[in-house]
C-alpha cells in the first residue's frame, strides 16, 4: 500500500516537472520571445539589449556538447534558460508581472481563494442536486421524473458553459433583476457563477448516480435486505448508495480539478476576481510571467487533488494497490 502511494507520489512529481517544461516551451514557440514581448516599434538595438538582459541568448536546454553543463555540476541550472526557470519555480519565483509591478506568483496567490471558493461552491451545488436526482431517477425508473431528469442532464452536458452563464445573466439579472450580474460580494454574487460552473458536473454526476444505483439495486444483497423487511429508504441509502458511491466519488474528485480549469470562462463572464480571469487578462496583455504562474499553480492543485483521490480510492478499495 505504501509502495503504491509512494509510486503515485513520484509520478505526480514527474508530471509537475513535465508541466514546467510545457509552460516554459510555450513562451519560446515562435522562436524569438524578444519580438513577442517588446512593443512593435522597438529598434534592433533595443531588441538586442532586451535579449541580453533577459538572458535570451543562452541556450534553452543545452548546447553541444551537453556534458559541458556538468562542470561545474550546477552549470545547467545557471547557464540555460530552462535551468534558471526551474530554480525560479522551485523558489516560487516566476518573475515580475509586466503589467502590475508585483511578483507574478503573489498576484496568483491573491486571487486563489476566490477561485477555490467558486469551485467548491459549484461542486457543492452540483452534488447536492445531482445525487438526489440520480437516486430518485433510479428508484422511480422510467417515470416522468426519470425521463425528465435524464433529458435535462443530457441537455446540461451539451450546453456550452458560457452560454448558460449568459442566459442566467439575461434571465436573473436583466429581466427579473433578482441577482447581480457580476463581481464578488455576498452569496448573491456567488450563486449564478457557481451554478453555471457546476452545471456540467451536475449533469454528469446525475447520470452516473442513476446508472450506478440501477446496477447496485439489482444485486442480490438488496433483495436480501428487502426480504428481511428493511425499510425501503434504508435499503436505498444504506445498502444501495454506499456501494454505488465509489465511482461517483472518483468522478467528483476528478471534476474538482476540471472545474478549476473551467472556472476560467465563468470567471470572465461574471467578472469574478479569481485566478482564471487573471490568467485570461494576462494572456491578452502578453503578461507571460503571470500566465506561467497561473497555469503552474492550477495544474499543481489539480495534481494534488488527483493524488488525494488516489489515496482515497486505495483506502476504499485496497485491491487497486495490487494490480
Amino acid at each position: 500500500m505504501t509502495r503504491y502511494l509512494a509510486r503515485r507520489l513520484w509520478q505526480s512529481l514527474l508530471v509537475l516537472f513535465g508541466i514546467s517544461i510545457i509552460i516554459f516551451i510555450i513562451l519560446h514557440l515562435t522562436g524569438d520571445p524578444a519580438v513577442l514581448l517588446m512593443p512593435p516599434d522597438a529598434t534592433k538595438e533595443d531588441l538586442d539589449n532586451f535579449r541580453r538582459i533577459m538572458g535570451f541568448n543562452d541556450p534553452l536546454f543545452f548546447r553541444w556538447p551537453p556534458w559541458q553543463y556538468l562542470n561545474p555540476p550546477w552549470r545547467f541550472l545557471t547557464d540555460t534558460q530552462y535551468g534558471r526557470f526551474f530554480t525560479g519555480v522551485l523558489r516560487g519565483n516566476f518573475g515580475m508581472s509586466f503589467r502590475h509591478q508585483q511578483p507574478a506568483l503573489s498576484l496568483v496567490l491573491e486571487r486563489m481563494p476566490a477561485t477555490i471558493e467558486l469551485t467548491l461552491a459549484a461542486m457543492a451545488i452540483a452534488v447536492c442536486v445531482a445525487i438526489p436526482v440520480g437516486i430518485l431517477s433510479a428508484v422511480r425508473r422510467n417515470s416522468v421524473l426519470d425521463h425528465g431528469g435524464m433529458i435535462l442532464a443530457l441537455l446540461g452536458q451539451s450546453m456550452p458553459v458560457y452560454w448558460l452563464g449568459i442566459m442566467f445573466i439575461l434571465l436573473f439579472a436583466v429581466r427579473l433583476n433578482l441577482l447581480p450580474a457580476f463581481g464578488a460580494g455576498g452569496w448573491q454574487h456567488l450563486i449564478l457563477p457557481a451554478v453555471t460552473l457546476g452545471a456540467f458536473s451536475m449533469a454528469r454526476i446525475a447520470r452516473l448516480t442513476r446508472s450506478g444505483m440501477l446496477e447496485v439495486l439489482g444485486q442480490e444483497y438488496v433483495r436480501t435486505a428487502r426480504a428481511k423487511g428493511v425499510s425501503e429508504v434504508r435499503v436505498v441509502l444504506k445498502h444501495g448508495l454506499k456501494n454505488a458511491a465509489i465511482p461517483i466519488i472518483t468522478v467528483i474528485g476528478l471534476d474538482l480539478g476540471t472545474l478549476l480549469g473551467g472556472a476560467v470562462i465563468t470567471e470572465t463572464i461574471f467578472a469574478w476576481p479569481g485566478v482564471g480571469r487573471l490568467a485570461v487578462q494576462a494572456i491578452s496583455y502578453r503578461d507571460y510571467p503571470v500566465v506561467q504562474a497561473a497555469v503552474f499553480t492550477l495544474a499543481s492543485i489539480f495534481i494534488i487533488i488527483n493524488f488525494l483521490v488516489d489515496v482515497l480510492y486505495a483506502y476504499v478499495d485496497p485491491r487497486v494497490a495490487y494490480k
Binding site: Q11, L14, V15, L16, G18, I19, I22, I23, I26, L27, L29, T30, L36, L154, L155, Q157, S158, M159, P160, V161, Y162, W163, I166, M167, I169, L170, V174, G257, L260, G261, G262, V264, I265, T268, I269, G276, A279, V280, I283, S284, R286, V291, A294, V295, L298, A299, F302, I303, N306
Partner: protein, 305 residues
C-alpha cells in the same frame, strides 16, 4: 497458390461481403428503432447540409453590413418583402445567415481537430500498449501531464503566442486532446496482445510494425470511432469558447462563439444576438451526443465515458 486455394479465397471473400452487408443492415435497423439516435441523426444531417450548402441555403450575405437595419428583432419584415427570420445583429447582418456560415467553421474545426487528435492518440496508444515497459511508462506520464494542464489556459497561451487562425486552432485542439484515444487504444491493445492471433502472427514471422498495423489497428478502431464522435462535440464547444474569448477564427468570418461574445454587450436590449448562437451550439452538440451515445451502446457498451 493452387487453384483450389484461390477459389476458396474468393468464396471466403464473398461470404465476408455478404455478412458485412447483413451487419450494416442490422446496424441501420437498430438505428431507426432508437428514437433518440434518430433525432440526433436528423439534427446532424440538417446542420451538416446547411453548412455544406451554406451559400445556397443562407437567405442573406453574412458579412455585408447594413447599419440602418441594426438590432432588428426576429421576424422583422422590411417594407419591400425581405424578412429577417432571426433578427439582425449590431451591424445589421442577418443572424440566420451568420449562423449557417458559422456552422461551417464549427464543423470544419471539429472534424479536423478530431482527425488530428485521433490519429495522434491512436498511434501513441498502439505503441504504448504493444511495446509496454518504459515506452508505456513514458507515454502514460505524458498523458497525465497533458491531463493536468487546464486546457483552456493552455490553448489560450499557445494561440496568443502563435496567433489566431483556422490552422492554429485546429493544431492546438488536435495536439491537446489526443489523450482519450490513447488511453482507450492502449487498454484495448493490452487485452488483445495476449490473444492467439497475435502469437500466431508473431510465430509466422510478422514484424512488430506489421502486427500493430495489420492486426491490432482494425480491432481497436471500434472504440476509437465512438470516442471520435463524442469528441467532435467537445471540439465544437471548445472552439466556440476560444472564439468567445476572442482567440478563435477572426471576424468578419462568423463563428458561433464570436456571435455570442458580440451579443453579450446587447443582452438587455436585444436578447436574440446571444440566444440563437448558443441554441445552435447546444442543438448540434446534443445531436452528436445522442448519436454518439447510441453508437457506443451498439458497438461497445463497456466504454466508460
Amino acid at each position: 497458390m493452387s487453384d483450389g486455394g484461390a477459389i476458396a479465397l474468393e468464396a471466403g471473400q464473398a461470404v465476408e461481403q455478404r455478412e458485412a452487408r447483413q451487419d450494416l443492415r442490422r446496424v441501420l435497423r437498430e438505428l431507426f428503432r432508437n428514437r433518440a439516435a434518430l433525432i440526433g441523426l436528423v439534427i446532424l444531417v440538417g446542420v451538416a447540409t446547411s453548412a455544406i450548402l451554406a451559400p445556397a441555403v443562407a437567405p442573406y450575405d453574412p458579412i455585408v453590413q447594413e447599419i440602418a437595419l441594426r438590432l432588428k428583432p426576429p421576424g422583422w419584415t422590411v417594407p419591400g418583402g425581405r424578412t429577417y427570420l432571426l433578427g439582425t445583429d449590431h451591424l445589421g447582418r442577418d443572424i440566420l445567415s451568420r449562423l449557417i456560415f458559422g456552422a461551417r467553421v464549427s464543423l470544419i474545426i471539429g472534424l479536423s481537430a478530431v482527425a488530428l487528435a485521433g490519429t495522434l492518440g491512436t498511434l501513441i496508444g498502439l505503441v504504448a500498449g504493444y511495446r509496454g515497459g518504459r515506452v508505456d511508462d513514458f507515454c502514460m506520464r505524458l498523458t497525465d501531464t497533458m491531463l493536468a494542464m487546464p486546457f483552456i489556459l493552455l490553448a489560450l497561451a499557445v494561440i496568443a503566442v502563435l496567433g489566431p487562425s483556422l490552422r492554429n486552432i485546429i493544431f492546438v485542439l488536435g495536439i491537446t486532446s489526443w489523450v482519450s484515444y490513447a488511453r482507450v487504444v492502449r487498454g484495448e491493445v493490452l487485452t488483445l496482445r495476449t490473444r492467439e492471433f497475435v502469437s500466431a502472427a508473431r510465430a509466422l514471422g510478422s514484424s512488430g510494425g506489421r502486427i500493430v498495423f495489420r492486426h491490432l489497428l482494425p480491432n481497436v478502431l471500434t472504440p476509437v470511432i465512438v470516442i471520435a464522435t463524442l469528441e467532435v462535440a467537445r471540439m465544437i464547444i471548445l472552439e466556440s469558447a476560444l472564439s468567445f474569448l476572442g482567440l478563435g477564427v477572426q471576424p468578419p468570418t462568423p463563428t458561433w462563439g464570436g456571435m455570442l461574445a458580440d451579443g453579450r454587450a446587447y443582452l438587455s436590449t436585444s436578447w436574440w444576438l446571444a440566444t440563437f448562437p448558443g441554441l445552435s451550439i447546444m442543438l448540434t452538440v446534443l445531436g452528436i451526443n445522442l448519436l454518439g451515445g447510441w453508437l457506443r451502446d451498439v458497438l461497445d457498451p463497456r466504454l466508460q465515458l
